[in-house]
């Protein structure tokens, strides 16, 4: 028992590396929030393109579907390696400008931005599917009512369909966000020190895992309340549905 406590819960190790791990966690938070917001936006764009009506939009729909299938089917680690390797090499060849190939925007190092790109590409595809489910769950009569009032397809989506769809899918989007946040640790592979790498650095000099444990606790501090919030929201939605009042027009 003592061995376990010493290996995983050594308060001295945690105390000595407190600032280091916390700083790593701050990077994790930044990756999660910036990557999360961009994924939300990119996912919505993908979902809207995928839902475009009419024969003329068929190629665009096909592209969106192919993209979503591809990026849901590839591990994010692989996307990350493809992005960082590719962009770096293109910049070295002069095929793309330096600021794009080796991005150091807002004082953040390039692995950070490679991470953001990989997260957005991957989680945008996941979130597009979530949005799609939400859009399809809005009753058909809503679009008909909007169109009968003279609103265009775009106006109807913007003012009527999407606002309702987004409300319906907040819980699954937050679930995706929790998964996204955990996946930010993959960016350590291309040399970025976020919370997991910070803990691992401590381990490699001390052979003690306590800094990693501390990192895990920091994760839980965010993910457990988020998961609880999602549960409550789902419960609330189900209650409204069983009362038969949610989306009163259904």
């Amino acid at each position: 028992m003592d061995v376990i406590i010493q290996q995983y819960f050594d308060l001295t190790i945690i105390g000595e590396n407190f600032g280091l791990v916390l700083k790593g966690f701050w990077e994790t938070i930044q990756l999660s929030i910036i990557g999360g917001i961009l994924s939300l936006v990119w996912g919505l764009v993908l979902a809207l393109v995928r839902q475009l009506p009419g024969r003329a939009a068929k190629p665009l729909r096909g592209l969106a579907i192919a993209y979503i299938d591809a990026f849901r089917g590839i591990p994010m680690l692989l996307v990350l390696l493809l992005v960082s390797g590719g962009l770096g090499a293109f910049a070295a060849d002069g095929a793309i400008p330096q600021w794009l190939g080796i991005p150091r925007w807002f004082g953040k190092p390039d692995p950070f931005w490679y991470g953001i790109i990989a997260i957005t590409l991957t989680y945008g595809a996941y979130m597009a599917e979530v949005y799609r489910a939400g859009i399809e769950a809005v009753p058909r009569g809503q679009m008909e009512a909007a169109r009968s009032l003279g609103m265009s397809y775009g106006q109807s989506m913007r003012h009527v369909i999407v606002p309702q769809a987004v409300r319906k899918v907040i819980p699954p989007l937050l679930n995706d966000f929790i998964a996204l946040m955990k996946d930010t640790s993959l960016v350590s592979v291309i040399g970025f020190i976020e919370v997991v790498q910070a803990g691992q650095d401590v381990y490699q000099t001390t052979f003690n895992s306590s800094a990693l444990t501390f990192g895990a606790l920091l994760f839980l501090l965010v993910t457990i309340p988020l998961a609880r919030f999602v549960d409550r929201r789902i419960a609330g939605q189900q209650e409204r549905y069983s009362r038969g009042t949610a989306g009163a027009s259904a």
Partner: protein
């Protein structure tokens, strides 16, 4: 054809897959006329209504509105916009936008389609909600309104667009019996003010009192039409008699 024809339907046919719903319907409607479409379920009366504002574009036939062809031979590509800006529609399931208050429901299309300022739209919406007896409910969300109140908001929402013709698609069928009257009263007033109305309904009394003309449909064709009292009290067709016998029995 006749110059005074406000809405003109000629040879309207509509199929869904193999199912032929409308098999060549001709109908002429004059300005200010109140037409009640009666018929058993599946007779095509709702589909005919939805053809008029092109929510369901007919497979063949010509639709004219105010002398302009909006579908079929001679129709311009802007037929959809033309008809939707002049024809309002109220649905069986209300189809209010659940994420907007009563007032916002009545404002949104005014602002997006007619590009009215938000004050102008609010003034108009307030006046109309007062007119349908809902001055107390302007800020309520649909889920907090009764079916009858929701349907009156839906009527106000359609009227806000200054339609020349109003389509009513079984607007009291989803209502509890005690709420039917408040909606019919609003429609009666509208008819008295001279609105051109096409009403799909099972309310025989309403058809008799308010309707100028009754059109009886069965099997995708117009079986009989004429002045309301004449058709309802002394129908000339056997099928009309049968239907009225069934409806009036209970």
């Amino acid at each position: 054809m006749s110059d005074q024809s406000f809405v003109s339907l000629r040879g309207i046919e509509k199929s869904f897959g193999d199912l032929e719903v409308l098999k060549g319907v001709d109908l002429e409607i004059r300005k200010g006329e109140v037409i009640c479409l009666l018929g058993p379920s599946g007779s095509g009366k709702s589909t005919l209504l939805r053809c008029i504002n092109l929510l369901e574009p007919p497979n063949s036939g010509i639709i004219m509105l105010e002398g302009k062809a909006i579908h079929g031979e001679g129709a311009d590509s802007d037929g959809v916009d033309f008809v939707r800006r002049r024809v309002g529609m109220v649905f069986q399931q209300f189809n209010l936008f659940p994420h907007m208050s009563a007032l916002e429901n009545v404002c949104v299309a005014q602002e997006t389609v007619l590009e009215r300022s938000s004050e102008e739209a609010r003034d108009k919406a307030t006046t109309l909600l007062e007119r349908v007896g809902l001055q107390e409910k302007v800020d309520e969300y649909p889920e907090r309104l009764s079916g009858g109140q929701q349907q009156r908001v839906a009527i106000a929402r359609a009227l806000a667009m200054d339609p020349h013709v109003m389509l009513f698609d079984e607007v009291t069928s989803a209502l509890d019996p005690e709420l039917v009257k408040e909606v019919l009263d609003v429609m009666r007033e509208l008819a008295e003010e001279g609105m051109t109305m096409i009403v799909v309904t099972h309310e025989i009394d309403f058809a008799r009192d308010v309707g100028d003309r009754v059109v009886f449909m069965d099997g995708g064709v117009v079986v009989e039409q004429g002045p309301s009292r004449q058709v309802l009290d002394s129908p000339s067709e056997e099928r009309t008699r049968e239907f009225l016998g069934l409806v009036l029995d209970h």
